[in-house]
Symmetry: C2
Subunit: 348 residues, 2 copies
DNA sequence: ACACGCGATGTTGACGTCAACATCGAACGC
DNA sequence: GCGTTCGATGTTGACGTCAACATCGCGTGT
């Protein structure tokens, strides 16, 4: 009864040969049935399928990958899933890849303490994926000392232009312009900015676009308050802003920091939007229920994910490279955190 | 110069044989170097490593998996990454797996429209992972019609007891008790509850534990307001609660719904925590910056992730099964959204 | 009746790796 | 000096799949 041989040895499942034997056909015919080829007699097919079912046969993807030279798998390099945007993009990437018949291999970049162990096992050091989507900022990639194998198809989701890879990202500049113009159009004299970390290209794009918009409108450019995407950093920045009675409009580089800003304003008793208007960036699910509901810039993460996968698969299958960067448009979502300034500015 | 053969054929990288030829050794010696075996002469090792570098050799994980009968890969079944808890757990799972030398294979369950396509490609239908961690609620699993292959090691992260698999999860009952008791200890007469969806076991545990705690303390059990984890559903429930002057304490089954409740209370002009105290569940990064900062139950997702991976790997490698469910303790985090009721109840 | 074509099925070998076994030479003990 | 041992290295074959090629039998046209 027992088929145990050595105690540690892995028990393998039935192979094509087993199915073939049971069905009384050759392995090749089983292969044809498994791959849904048309040139198999109906009766034979039924017999083979019955045998598969009886044995619980499942194709071995390793053998398939070895034979075909393809893994049907996409690696996704992520840092931490804590970031809202990364998570949403990953979700979309996973869905798009699955639909295209690819599997997602998560390649987490661990923090410094765990790194030594990491590298030894990193799947990037071996052939295991057909291509890679990079979901972390260029800066983090450098810091992690990750070396991408030559010839491996890569798509970068980041606004960085420094890498020689195809790029897909939300149109950061357009979004930041939308946010800034919305506030100026409401009549605010100028707009203050809580930025993302200086190492982030997306943050840089948003900051520069905010600044450019102000300059083009002839507005004074107030000093930037540096944040790091976290609500806490937004809160710190918000405390400074709340203490400054000149501030009537704030553009935070993401919704999380906007939340921190809101809290700081509330604590100081400054009313939003009556005293100060606030705009975020991302449109998290929560933002519609902040107090007050946050006006923000909606990023279409679904499109970003899908387009990245499409570009990568094109590269894998056809060897196409270096299209122009893809910039997915964003949209302004107006809620209750923005309003005209209480005391309208003097007309010029 | 050109090595192109057929236009579509996949270009394969150098194999051990290529390295062996260049280094003037046998393939087996290359294998020994690649696997860091000790019984290789130092000079030989150097020569081989030089050859590897020169050719850009990367081991082929498919061949390795085929040979060894192991994939060194863990499948993680997820529904959508939108949920905070799932994301945090996935993050922890990925880190733990990487450290243990396993790769994460994301297996997204797509929505109904995309399902037909999905199943055809689902990696569960073939051998590609050594084990699976289920990060979706039992209900969703059923609905998706997912059939887990017999004999595949599985760990479930859910409070459901209906499956015959090892289970790891936060101690939902303990957390809900903590939340409820905190409010009662502050002097509230009773605690209202905004629950998660009825299909969720976690939601069910929290609701039952809240009810039990109230009963044990001799408090009246108010009707449950059904939510579905989303901030919107919390908002809807919050509007009903805000309209009811009897309500002085609310326990929402997660932080997102608590956010919705807070918004509804603000809109109605009910002051938190003076008029109404609110407790959440999860401790998202944002919760500390809600207005007011939210008292909530901290879930240790890192432990949940790590313990799941450990249990699964033990099952994969040693064939161990069916330990008792692992319940990771939660912690109460007190912030500003809870306080004693404004008008203390009459002493009994 | 015979050559031919075509669809169904079988046979062979190679993908890259590594365990098991084989071999070879040097150091060592007596 | 000779058998023994041990460490370094080489050879062989199998893991499961599938493309390419081979074969077989049946129907068609003349």
């Amino acid at each position: 009864m027992s088929a145990e041989e050595s105690p540690v040895r892995r028990r393998r499942g039935p192979s094509m040969a087993d199915v073939a034997r049971l069905a009384g056909v050759s392995g090749q015919t089983v292969s044809r049935v498994a791959n849904d080829r048309h040139n198999v007699d109906a009766a034979t097919r039924d017999r083979v399928q019955a045998a598969m079912r009886e044995l619980g046969y499942r194709p071995n993807s390793a053998a398939r990958a070895l034979r075909n030279g393809q893994f049907r798998s996409i690696g996704v390099i992520v840092f931490e899933l804590s970031s809202f945007g990364t998570t949403r993009t990953l979700d979309a990437v996973a869905a798009a890849a699955t639909i295209s018949g690819y599997t997602i291999n998560l390649l987490p970049v661990l923090d410094v303490n765990q790194r030594a162990v990491t590298n030894a096992f990193s799947r990037l050091g071996e052939q295991a994926v057909d291509g890679v989507i990079i979901l972390i900022e260029a800066h983090t990639l450098d810091e992690a000392g990750i070396q991408l194998p030559e010839g491996l198809p890569v798509v970068v989701v980041d606004s960085s232009a420094r890498y020689d890879y195809p790029i897909v990202d939300s149109n950061q500049a357009q979004g930041a312009r939308l946010a800034t113009e919305h506030l100026l159009d409401l009549g605010h004299e100028t707009v203050w900015h809580v930025s993302g970390p200086p190492t982030s290209f997306a943050a840089d794009r948003r900051r520069r676009s905010w600044e450019l918009t102000l300059t083009q409108r002839g507005c004074e450019v107030p000093p930037v308050l540096d944040g790091d995407w976290t609500p806490s950093s937004g809160y710190e920045a918000g405390r400074k802003l709340a203490a400054n009675p000149d501030v009537t409009a704030v553009f935070a580089a993401n919704d999380q920091m906007a939340l921190g800003v809101l809290r700081a304003l509330h604590e100081r008793g400054r009313v939003v939007p009556d005293d100060v208007s606030v705009v975020g960036f991302d449109d998290m699910e929560e933002s519609a229920h902040f107090w007050p509901p946050l006006t923000t810039i909606l990023q279409n993460f679904t499109d970003v994910g899908r387009l990245s996968v499409d570009a990568l698969i094109r590269e894998i299958q056809a060897g196409e490279h270096h299209h122009d960067p893809v910039a997915v448009p964003t949209k302004l979502v107006v809620r209750s955190s923005t309003a005209p300034p209480r005391r309208p500015q003097l007309a010029g």
